[in-house]
């Protein structure tokens, strides 16, 4: 029949490619896997390699399908605009770097299975769908696709109690958050009669009157669900436990890409369908922003485990990023995007350093194990020091510029109190970042760490440290592309 209404597949080409690749690799792994431990290891390496290729191809596909104007397909469920493209590029880069660093850790812990790569690809696929969601159904599909894969890789270290606990905790709380999100969606659907972002925006924009209370309640539920995904206070409790329990490369992955995708989703949901309700949700965003910054700063002070510390640090950073959303302008969104990109670069670098912390084949997770690292491994110590100073926001490192754009937007939007709380909590946060520098540089040297630890991670450290160092020379490309991406959300 000629009139079968096939949706336009071109905008979704990268996702389709990635889905096919993930399934293909699953087949490859499942059917070539016999011959015991050695074969499993070989297959896992091959699949990881091919997974990297798949991410690279997807990245190229994203660049190829990019068009100047937004493309909508699948009955309006899927949108490909500048914002989605920007997010997808960095999601893919973050996923690829995490995968690149993971293999040697997994092999060391005898958990190198090809499923890891497949799950990571599927989670990435979910994130690509999330940032392209243009309808609550599309949003939920992407989000769950991502979350289910993440629950499994959090517990990927099957024989480790902590890892299992992390996976289970993440699953239970994540399912609760998804439930809240769904409930909110159903309320919104009930009061507006649609799940499409564009249609909701039209309905709410109608007459300038206050929207039905049901929509507002629904909105609050949706925000609660999304706040869980970005681990903003007060929905952050899972973060330290999951970060601590999950295998370190998985934590590295958790702390960058899902966070970026969820922030992207949050921006789109708040600004597109609910853009006209700005006055309603701004105060909520301000509250979770302040709470995240303050809790992130104070709770991290007493941590001794570096992965838990990074968890609180990520909570704090989300708080800063949300300042940009609270402003609700194009400058604000641009600032969020710049901040998040710089954050994932610093964070990947910091986790690459953590992956290098290995002594006699054992991973080290305590901050005190870093003692005297500057003497035993000066290069790694310098890298980690650069990331820490950058996270404090000391110029001329990249982290400063992330904060600069955020606070510029906040001042411009008149959110003075928020800005003041923000800078002051950054002073508190400086204490625990500096503590790591102190342990590495001021304390007496402990035993040296293994020289051959984290071969790939060292490349990541080098690359990200250079980016953080020289960002101030060429800030133009990131700033202008973030600005273009932000414009897409404001229909201009």
């Amino acid at each position: 029949m000629a009139d079968v209404n096939l949706p336009d597949l071109t905008p979704a080409m990268p996702e389709i490619l990635l889905a096919v690749a993930a399934m293909g690799l699953l087949m490859l792994g499942a059917f070539t896997r016999d011959g015991g431990e050695a074969a499993a290891l070989r297959v896992s390496r091959q699949v990881a390699m091919l997974g990297l290729v798949a991410l690279g191809v997807t990245l190229a596909a994203v660049l190829m399908v990019a068009t100047p104007s937004a493309a909508v397909t699948f009955e309006g469920m899927f949108i490909l605009d500048d914002f989605a493209i920007f997010m997808k590029l960095f999601v893919l880069v973050g996923a690829a770097l995490s995968l690149f660093m993971a293999q040697s850790y997994l092999e060391l812990h005898r958990i190198a299975r090809f499923e890891f790569t497949v799950l990571l690809l599927l989670a990435t696929l979910g994130m690509l769908l999330m940032v392209s969601a243009n309808d609550f159904l599309g949003l939920y599909l992407g989000l769950e696709m991502q979350s289910l894969a993440l629950y499994v890789i959090a517990a990927f270290h099957r024989d480790d109690v902590r890892s299992n606990e992390a996976g289970l905790k993440y699953f239970v709380l994540g399912a609760l958050a998804s439930g809240l999100l769904l409930y909110g969606t159903s309320l919104i659907y009930g009061y507006t009669g649609t799940t499409s972002f564009a249609a909701i925006a039209d309905t709410l924009h109608g007459d300038g009157a206050l929207p039905p209370a049901g929509v507002i309640v629904g909105l609050v539920f949706v925000m609660a669900g999304l706040a869980f995904k970005i681990s903003a206070v007060p929905f952050h409790m899972w973060t330290p436990d999951v970060y601590e329990g999950a295998p370190t490369p998985v934590t590295a992955f958790f702390s960058v890409t899902p966070k970026l995708a969820a922030i992207g989703l949050l921006l789109r949901v708040m600004l597109e369908p609910f853009g006209s309700l700005f006055g309603q949700w701004q105060q909520i965003v301000i509250f979770i922003s302040v709470a995240s910054m303050v809790l992130g700063a104070f709770a991290a002070i007493s941590q001794t485990n570096i992965k838990r510390l990074m968890a609180y640090s990520s909570i704090g950073h989300v708080g800063y990023a949300l300042i940009g959303l609270a402003v609700g302008t194009r400058e604000g969104v641009t600032a969020v995007l710049i901040y998040m990109v710089i954050y994932i670069v610093m964070n990947l670098g910091a986790f690459a350093c953590i992956l290098c912390m290995r002594r006699r084949g054992q991973m080290l997770v305590n901050i005190s194990d870093l003692a005297g690292l500057s003497k035993t491994s000066p290069a790694i110590a310098l890298g980690l020091a650069i990331f820490m100073f950058s996270m404090v926001g000391i110029p001329p490192l990249a982290g400063f510029f992330g904060k600069l754009y955020i606070f510029l937007a906040a001042i411009k939007g008149g959110l003075f109190t928020l800005a003041i709380i923000g800078v002051l909590s950054s002073v508190v946060a400086a204490y625990y970042y500096l503590r790591i520098v102190k342990v590495m540089y001021f304390d007496e040297a402990a035993e040296p760490i293994d020289r051959d630890a984290g071969r790939e991670a060292k490349w990541v450290i080098l690359g990200t440290a250079l980016l953080v160092l020289i960002f101030f020379l060429i800030p133009g490309p990131l700033v202008s592309s973030a600005s273009t991406a932000a414009a897409a959300l404001f229909g201009s």
């Binding site: 800078v423 002073v427 520098v437 102190k438």
Partner: protein, 504 residues
Amino acid sequence: MRDLPILTLVTFLPLVGVAFILSVRGDPLMVARNARNVALLASVTTFLVSLGLWFGFDPAGADFQFVEKAAWMPALGLSYHMGVDGISVLFVLLSTVLIPVCILASWESITVRVKEYMIAFLVMETMLVGTFCALDLFLFYVFFEGVLIPMFLIIGVWGGPRRVYSAFKFFLFTLAGSVLMLLALLMMYLEAGTADIPTLMTHDFRPELQIWLWLALFAAFAVKLPMWPVHTWLPDAHVEAPTAGSVILAGVLLKYGGYGFLRFSLPMLPDASVMFTPLVYSMSVIAVIYTSLVALAQDDMKKLIAYSSVAHMAYVTVGAFSMNVHGIEGSLLQMLSHGIVSAALFLIVGVVYDRIHSRDIATYGGLVHRMPLYAAVFMLFMLASVGLPGTSGFIGEFLVLVGAFQANSWVALLTAIGMILGAAYMLYLYRRVIFGMLTKDALKKITDLTPREIAVFAPLVVLVVWMGVYPDSFLSIMHASVEQLVDRLATAQADVAAFPLALR
């Protein structure tokens, strides 16, 4: 000569040295020796290039000279804009003079991680010079704040027993002040629509906005200067820092505060400055008297000099806020003089510390018998710190008092009491360390200054005497810029007198 980007050269030449030091590999002893040589060479070259500023500067012009401008972040309208005027040019030279002195002073006393130490000092030189040259708000902030990283490491890695506490205190105090300044700079940028410092210096901000901006800037500069009661980080940082760290801290870093007042607070926010003058006066007078009394009670030489720094820097604020030519020139000269004298005093403590490893005043006594040359150098700088005519300290303090007397005679009177107390604690220190009988066994074999140490002190001695005997070579450079500033302030004073701020 004019086309040469001399400020960029002076700012970034030290980084070339860093690149060389980083490329040195091999035997640790060789690396250390090479690092020292390269660092000295790089900093001396930087100094020689910076002399181009001294000879090329046109004292008749009040505007910025040696200006360089290039786009940096065009989306925000930020630029790489460098330039110096009569207020900043001397600070650039002060920085380039002191860094080679510091490197030479650390030649033998630093034995661990020499390579990193030299890198930290050269990076710091870039940040220091950049701060005084930057003519873009955010470029300034990058340099102003960037200096925290090398200084934190210098105190923390090469410092004394309580170095960790001191390094954190230093870092967090200054960070807290400067992040508030960052918000003020952002507000100024948004309000005026430009981040260009020369333009902002003629921009009139709304008076009610000025109050908030002034307070935020004050938070940063008062911590840096440091003013009572936020000075407590300074004695800790000085005591624990290695000698050269204290030298840079006292010599240049404290000047950030005074420079900030003269570059930002006074010209950009004149109305608020006039309004807050009583506050600044009171804090300064308290600082002069209180910290002088505290200095009198110290047992630790470095701590004593650190407290004397707080007192001397209070003269700077008194002079700056007297808002007349004498006062402001005096405060500038006081900063330069203090930069050299306090640097020299820390070096003097460093000399005996290297030999005896104690900073306790009670450990010493009668040093004049074994170290006559040392005693002479010490005396010169001690008297310069007291403000003896013929030394740089006198000119600075005298001009400040002349300026203060025109503005408010009570402030002048109370500040002058500080001079008397200053003489008391410095002479008391000198008597206990240098005079008396040489009875302590540890001191019986102490040796006088080595040729290297003489080389360290020689340029400082020359500068102190030069500034004291013929200050005009320095005053004439700053004069035109200071006049311009005073004119702007006079208008504001008239405004504020005519309409109390609260009524507008």
